[in-house]
Symmetry: none
Subunit: 306 residues, 2 copies
């Protein structure tokens, strides 16, 4: 770009000479795509650029007006009372929000790079042979969790505590929640006893702890926020993001990250499963997704499990 030809036209367009290097990530649900490209910038060298394209939300009055004016439609399929069309709207209803990061560093590019996901069906044996040794070798620090439990950090954020060292817990807002509206309510119960790494360690010994978290957690949220237990999703993650037992409380209407069936386990179901079989979580196959770059996935591949 720039150069000798017509610098004004060339430099005026932020994407002049765009060449796609890679699709970093895309979401069909969100209608967004993240691209890595080279563009001809002001400098001599082509510049690395991240381009984020996102379709814009509908505005009710604009689309209502459009529909009343017989827009061009093409029938795709029809079955009984249901039909699907492709509708071609006028350009004004079709802007694409375009974010350009230029020049982009390696770090920007990596930030937006999507990793493939792979499903693991982890048997009880797999846990003992692959996952547990992996967790123990990691020694991922959970000092920040102990700081909370010992009131050395975030003590002013504690919403409720049952101080029993064996069957107690602390309830604290999740960082993702700003506590300004209950629509996206998100709290975490962190158990006082140490050494319960995850769902896999739970047996009937832990039923009093789990029931305390379920009952007292709901009570505390009702008292503090007037938000009833029958509007709460209460669940554990497997794999969790850190290996000290904790339980998530989110508003049922909030589409929080990590609520999907291959990661979340309802506390109500966990209690029921242990009641019916105290060794349920030691013997059951548990299914979860791992990203392509996760070290645990490499361990499963070493033993031919994925």
């Amino acid at each position: 770009g720039g150069g000798l030809g017509d610098p004004e036209v060339s430099d005026s367009h932020p994407l002049a000479g765009f060449r796609l290097q890679a699709v970093l990530k895309e979401s069909a649900r969100d209608k967004v795509i993240f691209l890595h490209g080279k563009v001809d910038g002001d400098s001599q060298e082509p510049q690395d650029t991240v381009v984020i394209l996102e379709r814009v939300p509908f505005q009710a009055d604009a689309v209502s007006g459009l529909l009343s004016q017989r827009p061009p439609v093409t029938l795709q399929l029809k079955n009984d009372i249901y039909s699907v069309y492709h509708l071609t709207p006028p350009p004004a209803l079709n802007e694409i929000k375009t974010t350009v990061i230029c020049p982009a560093t390696e770090k920007h590019i990596k930030k937006y790079l999507r990793q493939d996901l792979f499903l693991i069906h982890e048997t009880g044996e797999d846990y003992k042979a692959v996952t547990l040794p992996f967790i123990e070798a990691q020694s991922f620090s959970i000092q920040w969790v102990y700081n909370i439990l010992e009131k050395k950090a975030e003590a002013d954020r504690i919403e409720y505590e049952n101080p029993d060292p064996e069957h107690g817990f602390i309830l604290i807002p999740d960082f993702k929640w700003n506590q300004k509206q209950v629509e996206d309510l998100y709290l975490i119960a962190i158990c006082h006893p140490r050494g319960i790494k995850s769902l896999r360690d739970l047996t009937s010994d832990h039923l009093p702890l789990l029931r305390n978290i379920l009952i007292e957690g709901q009570d505390a949220i009702l008292k503090r926020y007037g938000f009833h237990g029958n509007k709460l999703r209460i669940y554990l993650h497997y794999q969790p993001s850190y290996y000290h037992l904790h339980v998530h409380f989110t508003a049922l209407g909030h589409d929080a990250p990590g609520i999907s069936v291959e990661r979340a386990h309802l506390l109500h179901d966990v209690i029921q499963n242990i009641e019916s079989d105290p060794r349920y979580y030691q013997i059951r196959t548990l299914t979860y997704a791992l990203r392509a770059d996760e070290a645990l996935l490499a361990k499963f591949r070493e033993v031919g499990k994925c």
Copy 2:
């Protein structure tokens, strides 16, 4: 519509005379809007219609081509290396997927109306006393399902069939998927046997059917789309949206609606649970969310359960 003017033109447009009655629901994240309107149908009376507009996902090669051709852009803001533009693309990249339900009943309109959610813990006894009588009294038509199974509709969309009347099924793309990119892959397996209403009816008698769906469904998707089973989320809904057993296949990286822990049940887990206890789904408490306006919620309230 119809009438005296130009009946051919008038009747040819599915949205002729569209007047907005209400915005039922919208999602800025998903770029979708659900409208209730009146249209001039073939009959004398205007007809209630639900119109669902959804922007389509980006296709990498199409947008990459677009960006390299200096599309019209308008600068919105600039800060250091970050800038935001509005980009106006050509009409071909801008179709809006338009689903029309006409004539729509009260029930269809309610289905898409945004409502508060309440969690139900349905015991096996609750199912027999409350839910089953409710389902049987509803007689919600599933003629469209039988049309597919009998090849009276959508026969050209069938991706795979195991024709066994007891242990067979048909695999078909979900309406939500346009089949253009595998990122949001979404197919449905509809079982051939009739009368299996939901998860609650499943016993060890159905293990051969469930295993066929699991194994053959994955095989068919691998052969047709080159998409491996370890990248698929395979699950049932409880409550389902219609009471004829069906199984969802979605891409693991696709954040599809209805994958949350309070609605989805992994087929892998369902098979495992029935193997360990043939009456698991008759006796277990199953947790799910109901919208404030759902008739089933009113039934649970009548018996003091919510």
